[in-house]
């Protein structure tokens, strides 16, 4: 390492020539070293590439996980047709399962890339662990039960044309499950897979605070989800960016309404295309911010909000049933009269 340690390449009887050779070696060696350092810095992403298309850290992590099959691998025939129907429900839920959807969301809004994306509760990972025990209803749950839950809460089925989730055994469940089964082609069963669910963030020492979250929101989220959290629509009135609170969002019973679950989702997936842009603290704060706003009521509520909070939300990181800024949270939003843009 140190020059002294190296034997001198210079023959002592011909110092001039030796000097040149030595300089040459130093110069070439140094040149290579500089180039190597620069190349390394480049690779590590300290210097930005002008040509694009290089892997970054997150891509490597994603690439190491289970890879579900691409659309082009959907088989022909009746099975393929069922997979496509399931996929259509997953991507465009309010049109393909319109009777059971009471907001503007699609499954794929929370389970990204059509349920493929690791760390956004991908369907290939979910498929392999059901039926399983869930604390939410203290029962062994089948996949149909689980999907029913997402319709009831995430899709706010209480405000749908039928007023509830698809009845047991409905084709919607079958088609969705065939799609999930296909996504899990080649996945090991019964094993917890890497990339399953949403990541769990450790609570930070500063705790979470909606006021700090409001700033995070304005800087990182409002461009897409709107300053008022109501999402944005294109010229045809189609939702492009989903609502994060209010009557067209998930209801108080949804997993996403818990601060910890939302924080994990946001950290790994938001802003769209920029996984892990936010610090854990920012993710907690902004999750608290969006989940301290009013949204459709918890359909399980029969008595008061406080009672429902005790019965169904005990021990959860949620604003449901709490009083924030002098306002009881969880009372719900009125059923939207028109299902289109606000």
């Amino acid at each position: 390492m140190d020059d002294d340690a190296k034997p001198s390449p210079t023959p002592r009887d011909n110092p001039g020539k030796g000097l040149f050779a030595r300089d040459l070696i130093y110069a070439v060696g140094g040149g290579f070293a500089l180039f190597a350092i620069a190349a390394f810095a480049f690779d590590a992403g300290w210097l930005r590439d002008r040509k694009a298309g290089e892997a970054d850290g997150d891509q490597d992590v994603q690439a190491a996980m289970f890879q579900p099959p691409p659309d082009s691998a959907i088989p022909d025939g009746p099975e393929g047709d069922a997979i496509r129907r399931g996929q259509a429900i997953f991507m465009n839920t309010s049109a393909n399962a319109s009777d059971f959807v009471g907001n503007n969301l699609s499954c794929s809004n929370c389970h990204l890339d059509g349920g493929r994306r690791a760390n956004s509760a991908p369907m290939w990972a979910a498929w392999t662990v059901y039926p399983k025990y869930r604390s939410k209803n203290k029962q062994i749950n089948t996949m149909e039960d689980r999907v029913k839950g997402c319709f009831t809460y995430s899709m706010n089925a209480q405000h749908s044309p039928t007023g509830g989730p698809p009845p047991p055994g409905h084709d919607v469940y079958k088609d969705l499950q065939i799609y999930m089964h296909w996504l899990a082609t080649g996945a090991p069963t019964g094993e917890d897979m890497e990339g399953a669910g949403y990541p769990e963030l450790e609570m930070t020492s500063a705790g979470y605070d909606p006021a700090r979250g409001a700033q995070v929101y304005a800087a990182n989220c409002a461009a897409c989800h709107g300053g008022d959290g109501q999402g944005q629509y294109d010229i045809n009135g189609r939702p492009v960016f989903p609502a994060l609170w209010g009557p067209r969002s998930y209801n108080w019973g949804a997993g996403m309404a818990r601060v910890n679950t939302a924080a994990g989702f946001i950290k790994a997936n938001m802003p769209l295309g920029q996984s892990n842009r936010l610090s854990d603290q920012q993710a907690w704060d902004v999750a608290a911010y969006i989940n301290s706003h009013e949204r459709p009521r918890d359909p399980r509520q029969t008595g008061t909000v406080q009672e429902a909070a005790q019965k169904n939300h005990g021990g959860e990181e949620t604003y449901y049933g709490r009083t924030y800024q002098g306002r009881l949270i969880g009372v719900g939003t009125p059923e939207p009269t028109s299902r289109a843009r606000p």
Binding site: D2, D3, D4, T10, P15, G16, L19, D23, Y26, A27, V28, G30, G31, F32, L34, F35, A38, R48, D49, R50, K51, A52, G53, A55, D58, Q59, Q62, D71, R84, R85, A88, N92, S94, A95, N96, S98, V101, D113, G114, R116, R117, N220, A223, C224, Q232, D234, I235, N236, G237, R238, V240, F241, P271, L272, G273, Q274, S275, S338, R339, A340
Partner: protein, 409 residues
């Protein structure tokens, strides 16, 4: 530094006594050599890399040219998938309260002239499909699909969802094209029923015609004659704002987006000499007026794939992204069909590929640095050169946004 250390710590038989006397011969310090050699290596590597990229590009272009005749022979189903499914959905069920279904629609089952007329001119006003009223904007495909392609997609739609086996021919489309040449979009179901096929039955009627005449003469003067350094916009961006090659199409871009770009040229967050000069010479009110003018302008597409990109790869990126590269679908931000989401997300449909590709490169190269939350910086960084050309070429095949005046939006 190294040298000083050596003087202190060298063993008695170390090199320094033979070394030092020659010190004065050394005119150029060693670090300079290092840098020179590092640069030389870098240069060689870059040259080699470039040569490779050019080679690959040339090969891809050659392959593309061979493929073109085949691509033009896309089946009706493929055209539907690439041009219609983003709105009407792959299974033609539409989008609730926004886009009508084709499956079971009376328009699809009616006289063949109906679908063809809708494809040629688009629809703006209210229509009733399956007992529901829609009042949105169906784009015109007249400038982006040939008669033969229109015939194929219309046949596919009618055979699949209209229950009619009859084949629509290119000749039939040609006749239909001539029939109402020059007219704008159909003003809803009522007009289609009255003019094209009475069998469509009762349809909601459109309100009074939206007067699209844009009257502000001061803005029109800026557009057509310019003033001092605010050169006439039309001299570069074209008489109808359609642009060309490296000059962007402006027609139909969101108003807020245009205002922001003009400001960004002035502040230097976006760099371009001509536009910096032009934008700098405009007042705030003029920028807003021009933005309003262009955002409400409808113009046929003059864009065509021209970069030899792989259009089907481009379609894939636009509709689904490439999550293995952390790349969301372009349309998840730019709106389905690339029609934009006002005010922040520009329309990309019918934009000129050379311009689109140049912007994608500018985000990586630093010439453009004006995207909120660095959204486009991240996207552009994850696109390879071939992907940029692919997606730019695909976007050029889309119908232009059916721009609406601000009141209607």
């Amino acid at each position: 530094m190294i040298r000083r250390k050596r003087t202190q710590a060298a063993p008695p038989d170390g090199p320094e006594e033979t070394f030092e006397p020659y010190e004065e011969f050394r005119r150029i310090p060693l670090p300079v050599y290092w840098i020179a050699i590092a640069l030389a290596i870098w240069g060689a590597v870059t040259l080699w890399d470039n040569a490779q990229a050019v080679g690959v590009g040339r090969q891809e272009r050659a392959e593309q040219i061979e493929e073109t005749p085949a691509a033009a022979l896309n089946s009706g189903a493929q055209i539907f998938e690439a041009r219609c499914s983003t709105c009407h959905q792959p299974n033609a069920v539409g989008v609730r309260s926004a886009i009508p279904p084709l499956a079971g629609s009376r328009f699809v089952a009616a006289d063949p002239a109906v679908v063809v007329q809708i494809l040629l001119h688009g629809i703006d006003g209210p229509i009733d499909v399956g007992g529901r009223t829609f009042d949105a904007h169906m784009p015109s495909f007249a400038s982006v699909l040939s008669d033969a392609e229109l015939a194929r997609v219309a046949t596919h739609v009618r055979q699949t969802w209209g229950g009619d086996r009859q084949e629509i021919t290119a000749a039939f489309v040609r006749v239909q094209r001539a029939r109402f040449a020059g007219r704008g979009a159909w003003r809803g179901g009522e007009e289609l029923a009255r003019v094209v096929d009475p069998a469509l039955g009762p349809q909601p009627s459109a309100g009074p015609a939206v007067i699209s005449a844009f009257a502000d003469p001061a803005v029109l003067r800026l557009v057509n004659q310019g003033r001092g350094e605010a050169w006439a916009c039309s001299s570069c961006h074209g008489a109808a704002g359609q642009g060309g090659a490296n000059i962007p199409r402006l027609a139909g871009l969101p108003e807020g987006y245009i205002v922001k770009q003009l400001q960004d040229y002035v502040t230097g967050r976006r760099r371009n000499e001509s536009m910096q000069t032009v934008a700098g010479a405009l007042t705030d009110a003029e920028r807003r007026g021009l933005a309003r003018y262009y955002s409400g302008l409808r113009a046929p597409s003059t864009a065509k794939p021209e970069l030899g990109g792989d259009v089907s790869r481009g379609e894939q990126l636009a509709l689904y992204g490439d999550w293995s590269r952390n790349l969301p679908a372009c349309f998840s931000c730019h709106g389905p069909s690339g029609f934009g989401v006002a005010p922040g997300f520009p329309s990309l449909a019918a934009q000129h590929p050379a311009y689109t590709a140049s912007q994608l490169a500018a985000w990586v190269g630093g010439g453009r640095n004006n995207s909120d939350v660095q959204l486009m910086n991240e996207v552009a960084r994850n696109l390879s050169d071939a992907d940029r050309r692919a997606v730019a070429d695909y976007l050029a095949t889309l119908p232009p946004v059916p721009a609406v005046t601000q009141e209607r939006r």
